[in-house]
């Protein structure tokens, strides 16, 4: 009786998923067409030589509108295709569902609002090169956040991430200096193939990761304290290494071009002059994002990570090798920090033992803002991407509109608090 009532109501008020997908596709197409028109008109205005006023202040907005349209088309078309011929699946358009949607996507909406505010304040923000810059800056953070997310997924944490970044930077940079540079770390070191120091740096990090994992898994130590101890050890060890004569704690410079290119190279600089090419960091980060997404979603190891985080006791009872899994988690995470450190050294063409300071907290914050639960078991790669982007955009955007570094900190903190409060209210019952 109640069910039939509900059905008749939904027939009158709700629209089917199929229809919704169709609608979205059409709206997306309209937006894309608008973008194309604006691009054409703007180019003709530009060609006529009087690119002023609104047309100038628009910057790359037509392109962004076009891309947005494309995105909506893809979203709508996928939905359309999925529900093709299915007249029973309804979109829930009740106020309650709308509220849930806002709550679930609050953080994305916040990001959109932020971008709009910044763009209104400073029109130059609407440029392709700004977008590319932001993505490039986000890339090393992304890799570190992907590492730390594993430790968060098992309701742990990893405070040693920052020092591992520094360690990997110092080790890789110390072995990859130009032969003619006067202050070489190893004056007599032959010119190694670039990958050897990189691999050494990452392996050293993984060894410390093994130590982290061992302390946590073997002694059931809380990851907070285990990784804190290891963090201090790494910093000390890294400083000792950094202080070796003849370097004596001098910043490491004179980095070989073949190494620094790993962080600085830009693809298609000639083909895409408007954005000065695509920085190599972006495809590198994308490769790691895809790889980690694969590990988390498509492997037994990934499922075990979620299971241990979701309910450790149940994981034991299900016969999961918790010890082994935790070891692997910390080793894998450390490898990712190592990669992050190497990229930092290459990007900046240098290294000191203080590289990476604060990165672990940024990474944790980005993960949490992206919906990774500190209680373990919950978290998606897509969320982490958004979390990292939010932090990069805040930093970049606030700098762009001239907000002081001190205010940036205040705003960053507020965003963390609000994002997490929003996220938790999703799970709160009653």
């Amino acid at each position: 009786m109640i069910e039939s009532e509900g059905l008749s109501m939904s027939e009158s008020k709700q629209l089917t998923c199929e229809k919704f997908g169709k609608m979205m596709s059409i709206i997306g197409a309209a937006i894309a067409v608008l973008g194309v028109i604006l691009i054409v008109v703007k180019n003709s205005v530009k060609a006529s030589g009087n690119l002023t006023g609104v047309w100038k202040e628009m910057y790359d907005l037509p392109w962004f509108i076009f891309l947005l349209g494309l995105g909506i088309i893809i979203f709508g078309a996928l939905k359309w295709k999925r529900y093709l011929g299915d007249t029973t699946s309804m979109m829930d358009t009740s106020p309650k569902a709308a509220k849930a949607f806002l709550l679930n996507n609050g953080i994305i909406l916040a990001l959109v609002v932020m971008v709009i505010v910044i763009a209104v304040k400073e029109h130059r923000f609407i440029q392709g090169r700004v977008l590319v810059d932001i993505l490039a800056q986000a890339s090393p953070r992304m890799i570190i956040a992907l590492g730390i997310c594993f430790t968060l997924l098992i309701a742990g944490t990893d405070l040693s991430a920052c020092r591992m970044v520094g360690l990997a930077a110092v080790i890789s940079a110390s072995m990859l200096q130009n032969p003619e540079y006067p202050n070489r770390f190893f004056p007599n070191l032959p010119q190694l193939p670039v990958f050897i120091p990189i691999v050494i740096a990452i392996i050293v990090c993984m060894l410390f990761g093994l130590l982290n994992g061992f302390l946590v898994a073997k002694f059931d130590m809380h990851p907070f304290i285990a990784t804190l101890a290891v963090q201090v050890i790494i910093y000390g060890a890294c400083s000792l290494y950094f202080d070796l004569p003849p370097n004596n704690s001098q910043p490491i410079g004179g980095i070989r071009k073949s190494f620094s290119q790993i962080g600085q190279y830009r693809f298609w600089q000639d083909a895409l002059p408007a954005i000065n090419g695509i920085p190599i960091l972006i495809p590198i980060a994308i490769i790691f994002v895809v790889a980690i997404w694969f590990v988390l979603n498509k492997t037994v190891f990934g499922k075990n990570v979620y299971a241990i985080g979701g309910n450790r006791e149940a994981a034991v009872v299900s016969g999961i090798n918790v010890f082994k899994t935790i070891l692997c988690i910390f080793i894998l995470a450390s490898a990712l920090y190592g990669v992050g450190g190497v990229l930092e050294a290459a990007r900046t063409a240098g290294a000191t033992n203080n590289y990476g300071v604060g990165y672990e907290l940024d990474a944790i914050a980005a993960c949490v803002v992206g919906g990774v639960s500190l209680n373990g078991g919950v978290g998606k790669v897509s969320g982490i991407i958004i979390g990292v982007l939010i932090f990069t955009i805040i930093q970049y955007g606030l700098q762009f509109i001239g907000v002081s570094a001190m205010w940036q900190q205040v705003i960053k903190g507020i965003i963390i608090a609000i994002a997490v409060a929003l996220d938790l209210s999703k799970y709160r019952r009653k």
């Binding site: 037994v300 075990n304 979701g310 149940a314 009872v317 016969g319 999961i320």
Partner: protein, 499 residues
């Protein structure tokens, strides 16, 4: 003050899918000991939690001292003169005894600083009043379980309450200490306070209580003066019920082929099970009965590799078996559905598919890489067989009802193709309809030749489902009954044999 200091009238309490209390009435006279009895799961603790403000009743009324009250929190209950000694003790181990007692109501100096001197004296006086010899300043963690129990009793007394709820207060007390407790109770009674006393121990009940209220399956059976009752009468009223059509008809034959032999099994923990010997036959459901604390869960967890075994042997198919961990147990084709579905069973934040496959991921992967399509299809198929009701396979398991969660857990363990399936309270917190489905699943598994050990605290389930009933009492195996011998009184007699 009227005839009763407390009246709980027609209290009902619903949990998702279950009616935990159904119109229960409890009336307590001032200055009396009122025993509350019933089997495990009869709803005694739930009723007391309603009174103590931990739960709020969905229907019914609570009248204290003639005034209707809506008790929303434990603090409010305490303010109204109701205190409770909990079944499970949760002392703050690293703080002194006195701080544990006065927590939340420390004596203060000028409202700023805690007055430790006064607190010490208050504790001393309190202990003296009930004749306890414990130093108030020692850390709570250094006390023995029975001392802690007595401290907990002292704490309840310190609230100066009109009503003190004692939930299994003697579970960790020695005989002398029990006598001590009874003296304290007599003293409290003489001061005009009322005690609500929950216990399984018949002799205790008959000895100290004035009135007895009996509950069964969340319903009210009746209230009698203790002088009218005998142990047998209590047991009959606790268990007596209509048992038709609650279980599917048995359609399989048990074999006498032994699949597992357990000989003189003794736990590493001296307080746990000792010297347990039994055989498990192919295609039978072996019921494992006993009261809370009989160490049944500990026994099966030891067989499953989760707990240490000090001595004794297990053989499976004639081969010696010793599980160091769960992987060993799984390799020997044993599965375990744990007692605490939430705590050790489900992964609440994961999907039905993930929850179903988690114990057999290796079968659905090659080189560590999962075949997600196969996982999804097999999980869906397995759950369909068990009639799990879920919107989609991606639904988080925490959003299912208890019965459907349990079916997913069955699917999880069936995918490991066990020969021996251990079920610890398989129908706890599950409504009647889903119970019947679980029973049907169990019978079809037995018909396939799987051996099932079923721990159950529900008497009808134990008697209705088991081919044989093994009863434990305080860590000992009290006896094994054939289906024909097993009845409620006999099981209850064995369950209390070593108490």
């Amino acid at each position: 003050m009227g005839e009763y200091v407390l009246e709980m009238n027609h209290i009902s309490k619903f949990f998702p899918g279950v009616k935990a209390l159904d119109g229960v009435t409890l009336k307590v006279r001032p200055g009396s000991v009122h025993a509350l009895m019933g089997e495990n799961g009869a709803g005694k603790s739930t009723l007391m939690k309603c009174l103590f403000g931990i739960y709020h009743e969905d229907e019914g009324e609570i009248i204290l001292d003639g005034k209707k009250q809506s008790i929303d929190s434990s603090k409010m209950a305490l303010d109204l003169g109701v205190s409770m000694i909990h079944q499970e003790l949760h002392p703050i181990s690293f703080r002194p005894v006195m701080e544990n007692i006065w927590l939340g109501r420390f004596p203060m100096i000028a409202g700023i600083a805690v007055d430790h001197k006064k607190m010490y004296q208050m504790t001393k006086d309190l202990f003296k009043k009930i004749d306890l010899d414990i130093n108030p300043a020692v850390l709570a963690g250094t006390l023995s379980a029975s001392q802690l129990q007595l401290v907990e009793i002292a704490k309840a007394v310190s609230y100066d309450s009109k009503i003190i709820i004692m939930d299994e207060p003697t579970s960790s007390l020695t005989d002398n200490e029990v006598e001590h407790l009874f003296k304290i109770i007599a003293q409290l009674k003489s001061e005009g306070r009322s005690i609500i006393y929950i216990s399984h121990k018949m002799e205790e009940i008959l000895k100290i209580s004035d009135e007895v209220t009996i509950m069964r399956d969340g319903t009210y059976v009746g209230t009698w003066s203790a002088s009218e009752l005998t142990t047998d009468l209590i047991i009959n009223r606790m268990v007596g019920r209509d048992m038709t059509n609650r279980f599917p008809p048995k359609t399989y034959e048990t074999s006498t082929e032994t699949i597992m032999e357990v000989r003189n099994l003794t736990a590493t923990d001296p307080r746990s099970f000792k010297d347990v010997t039994f055989d498990l036959h192919k295609g039978e459901i072996l019921g494992l009965g006993g009261l809370v604390g009989a160490q049944r869960t500990e026994l099966v967890e030891a067989i499953f590799g989760l707990r240490g075994i000090a001595s004794g042997t297990i053989t499976i198919h004639g081969k010696p078996y010793h599980a160091k961990n769960v992987a060993d147990a799984k390799n020997n084709k044993i599965g375990l559905l744990t007692e605490e579905r939430r705590a050790t069973g489900i992964f609440g934040v994961l999907s039905i598919t993930d929850n179903t496959i988690i114990a057999s991921e290796k079968k659905f992967s090659s080189g560590g890489i999962l075949d997600n399509k196969k996982r999804r299809n097999i999980a869906a198929e397995e759950n369909k067989k068990l009639n799990t009701k879920t919107p989609t396979m991606e639904t988080l398991i925490q959003n299912l009802s208890g019965g459907n969660q349990q079916k997913v857990l069955f699917a999880r363990w069936l995918l490991t193709t066990p020969d021996i399936l251990i079920l610890d309270e398989p129908t706890r917190g599950i409504d009647v309809g889903a119970k019947y489905e679980i029973y049907t699943i169990m019978q079809s598994l037995a018909a396939e030749g799987k051996a099932i050990i079923m721990i159950s605290s529900e008497m009808p389930e134990l008697l209705g489902m088991s081919d044989r009933v093994m009863v434990m009492s305080d860590g000992h195996l009290a006896g094994i009954l054939d289906k024909e011998q097993a009845d409620q009184v006999e099981v209850m007699r064995l369950a209390t044999a070593y108490l």
